[in-house]
């Protein structure tokens, strides 16, 4: 189950470029089968992203049951795991993302609301 969520390209601005404003947020969610935790995590993530990063993110869901090798390549242990591939640095959040506060803090989304 791969789902590519909408991608919005925004024109580059001159001068200082703040990651929060222009970068596309590349998020990957690792799940294993249709587990409750996985489904919950995706739902929570969608809500948060819609709320905070509307139009500036893409979510790639990777099901390890289907792509077991990905676990090795991306060094995944815990399920579900959310990895922020960009903007750098890579960030990692483990869990079903039910704790919205922590997810926002973990992804450094706080800057966005400013």
């Amino acid at each position: 189950m791969k789902s590519r969520v909408e991608t919005v390209k925004s024109p580059r601005q001159k001068g200082k470029m703040t990651k929060s404003k222009d970068t596309i947020w590349d998020l990957r969610l690792y799940i294993a089968g249709q587990s409750v935790k996985g489904v919950n995590a995706l739902n929570h993530l969608k809500v948060i992203c819609e709320d905070q990063l509307k139009g500036k993110y893409r979510i790639k869901v990777i099901d390890l049951k289907k792509e077991p090798r990905a676990a090795h390549i991306d060094q995944i242990l815990a399920i579900p795991t959310l990895v922020r591939k960009s903007p750098l640095p890579e960030k990692c959040i483990i869990g079903d993302l039910s704790d919205t506060e922590r997810v926002i803090a973990g992804l450094n989304l706080n800057d966005m609301s400013m």
Binding site: A32, K65, L77, T81, L82, I93, I94, S98, D99, R102
Partner: protein, 585 residues
């Protein structure tokens, strides 16, 4: 082993052999097959190596491919680390016999955003097992997850699930864990892995390290419960199940010469028993090593293999020194009959010494083993430990029917016998060397303190190191006590002089008697000649008298004829005269 066979008949728990030397013996066949085993111990005690040997041996010897999941070292580091032990991991990985996987969770930040599980790990292990058809799995220090992942409660539950899952999959698993304070592991993993727990220990006593292992539990199987010393060396991991094996070894009647003919004589004419334990003790410089070397030389010249452990001298120095007393060991080293093993006693702990020695004995397979000297191991207060070590060593050697020759240095001033009483009971033949100080010089004396099973001499012998080997001489035992060296020589000279005097006296007496005899003979001759003279005189006188009587008779007859008298008148008178004459003659 008989025990193993018996157990096998009883349909024991299936086991997965480790091929780690000695371990399969004490576990009765290996680790529990298809179940998890916990290996715990402090840092640097050999957990990873143990696990790696299990995997490599499985892959190479039992055709059981293995998965090695490392939470600490990368694949590259692992291959490099075990390459020194002769394992070619890369090759095994290429041939799909082994799957190495490094799990690193070194994220700069891991946020905890709710409920999670370890399905990712499961997926990875599953993939690895399926890919190579693994029968063995190692999780090397899975505990490190606790420091990396949030929420220990979830983690514990997940690990428990993992172990159950692995058991269900039927793979034999080793889980390594760090030793915790007061508990076997830091995170209490022993609660989850309850089938087999092995504790590795690495401690330091008196600045020397000792590695020991113990099987804490082994569900459904008997096992050795002692602490066993183990070694990690160029051959990898080896456990030495050397304990008191019991006193049921076979005793040989075969004798083996001491190399010193007169010492053989002292030991009822034939020398030591093969497979017995010989101790030579004495103060410094009494020739303990020399007696050992003489024994070695003679044994080697008869084609026996000898392993010589020296703890004080380097082999080179020892060989050089022995040449000075006419014992050349060099040729036997060259032809491989004699092997030296020189270490400082402080190099490692007793257990390791024992383990190394036994390993060397196993490899070299000698008939005779020399330990020179055994008390090099002793410090102030480890006598009982040394005794235990020697006990195990002696038992082992007796089992193998190897003749053991120990030397022991007695401290000057201490009683000769008491110093070594702690090992006395282990010793079959005990030779004591002592120096005897008389008349401003020091000489060596040797006697047999005990020798089990033979009528040995009770005499002290003077013991001399000459340029052509060892010589035993009778000591002087006389009216002035026991004398050795120059005192003995001077006493012997004195005795010789006295004997000479005595012999001269006897000669003189004999001569005197001779002379007396001669004088007596002379006297007898004189008497004889005197007698002869008298006799001839008497005979003459008798002749004259006879003639005179004849004449008288004739005259009388003539007269009576002329007077015409009766012839018979005077017959009585004539007869009376005749009688008288016979008496005289």
């Amino acid at each position: 082993m008989i025990r193993t066979e018996l157990l096998a008949q009883r349909k024991i728990l299936p086991k997965s052999p480790t091929s780690i030397q000695g371990l399969d013996e004490i576990t009765g066949g290996g680790l529990p097959k298809g179940r998890p085993t916990l290996i715990c111990g402090g840092a640097g005690c050999g957990k990873t190596l143990f696990a790696m040997e299990f995997i490599v041996n499985g892959a190479t010897q039992y055709n059981e491919p293995g998965v090695f999941i490392s939470f600490e070292e990368t694949e590259k580091e692992l291959s490099a680390n075990v390459a020194s032990l002769g394992f070619d991991l890369d090759d095994l990985v290429r041939r799909k016999k082994i799957w190495l996987e490094h799990i690193h969770i070194e994220r700069s930040e891991i946020e905890h955003g709710g409920d999670y599980d370890l399905e990712g790990l499961f997926v990875r292990i599953h993939l690895a097992i399926e890919t190579i058809g693994a029968k063995r799995v190692v999780l090397d220090t899975i505990e490190s997850l606790f420091s990396e992942l949030p929420n220990p409660l979830i983690l514990r539950a997940e690990l428990r699930r993992l172990f159950r899952w692995l058991k269900k999959k039927g793979v034999t698993t080793i889980i390594t864990a760090e030793r915790g304070d007061g508990a076997l592991t830091r995170q209490g993993l022993e609660e989850y892995v309850s089938d087999c727990v092995i504790l590795l220990d690495h401690r330091v006593n008196d600045q020397s390290s000792i590695r020991r292992m113990r099987i804490v539990k082994y569900r459904g199987s008997t096992h050795g419960t002692n602490e066993y010393p183990f070694l990690i060396d160029e051959d990898g991991f080896s456990v030495l199940p050397v304990t008191s094996l019991g006193l049921n070894y076979f005793s040989s009647h075969e004798r083996i010469t001491t190399g010193i003919p007169r010492l053989d004589t002292m030991l009822s004419g034939e020398g030591y028993f093969r497979g017995s334990t010989v101790l030579v003790s004495g103060t410094a410089g009494t020739g303990k090593t020399s007696i050992a070397s003489q024994f070695v030389k003679t044994a080697c010249s008869q084609g026996e293999r000898v392993l010589f452990f020296t703890f004080e001298e380097s082999p080179n120095q020892l060989v050089r020194n022995m040449v000075s007393i006419g014992i050349n060991l060099e040729p036997y080293i060259k032809n491989g009959l004699l092997q030296f093993h020189a270490t400082r006693p402080t190099l490692y702990g007793l257990e390791t010494h024992l383990a190394t020695s036994i390993k060397m004995i196993n490899t070299f397979e000698p008939k005779i083993v020399i330990f020179d000297p055994i008390n090099a191991f002793m410090t102030k207060d480890n006598q009982s430990e040394v005794k235990t070590m020697l006990l195990r060593l002696v038992d082992y050697l007796k089992m193998k029917r190897i003749t053991a020759f120990f030397t022991s240095l007695t401290n000057a001033g201490e009683s000769f016998e008491t110093t070594d009483t702690y090992i006395s009971s282990l010793i079959d033949t005990w030779l004591l060397l002592r120096d005897i100080e008389i008349g401003g010089e020091r000489n060596r004396g040797l006697y047999v303190l005990k020798s089990r099973g033979m009528a040995h001499s009770n005499q002290i012998r003077e013991f001399k190191l000459t340029s052509h080997g060892i010589e035993l001489l009778d000591v002087y035992v006389g009216a002035h006590g026991v004398l050795t060296g120059s005192a003995r020589l001077s006493q012997e000279t004195k005795d010789d002089a006295e004997q000479l005097l005595r012999q001269q006296e006897i000669g003189r007496k004999q001569l005197e008697i001779q002379r007396k005899h001669e004088a007596m003979e002379a006297q007898i001759a004189v008497l004889r000649s005197e007698f002869a003279a008298e006799e001839s005189e008497a005979v003459n006188a008798i002749g004259i008298e006879n003639a005179r009587e004849e004449r008288f008779k004739r005259d009388k007859e003539t007269m009576s004829r002329s007077r015409k008298s009766d012839v018979n008148v005077n017959t009585a008178a004539i007869q009376k005269y005749n009688k008288k004459r016979r008496k005289i003659s």
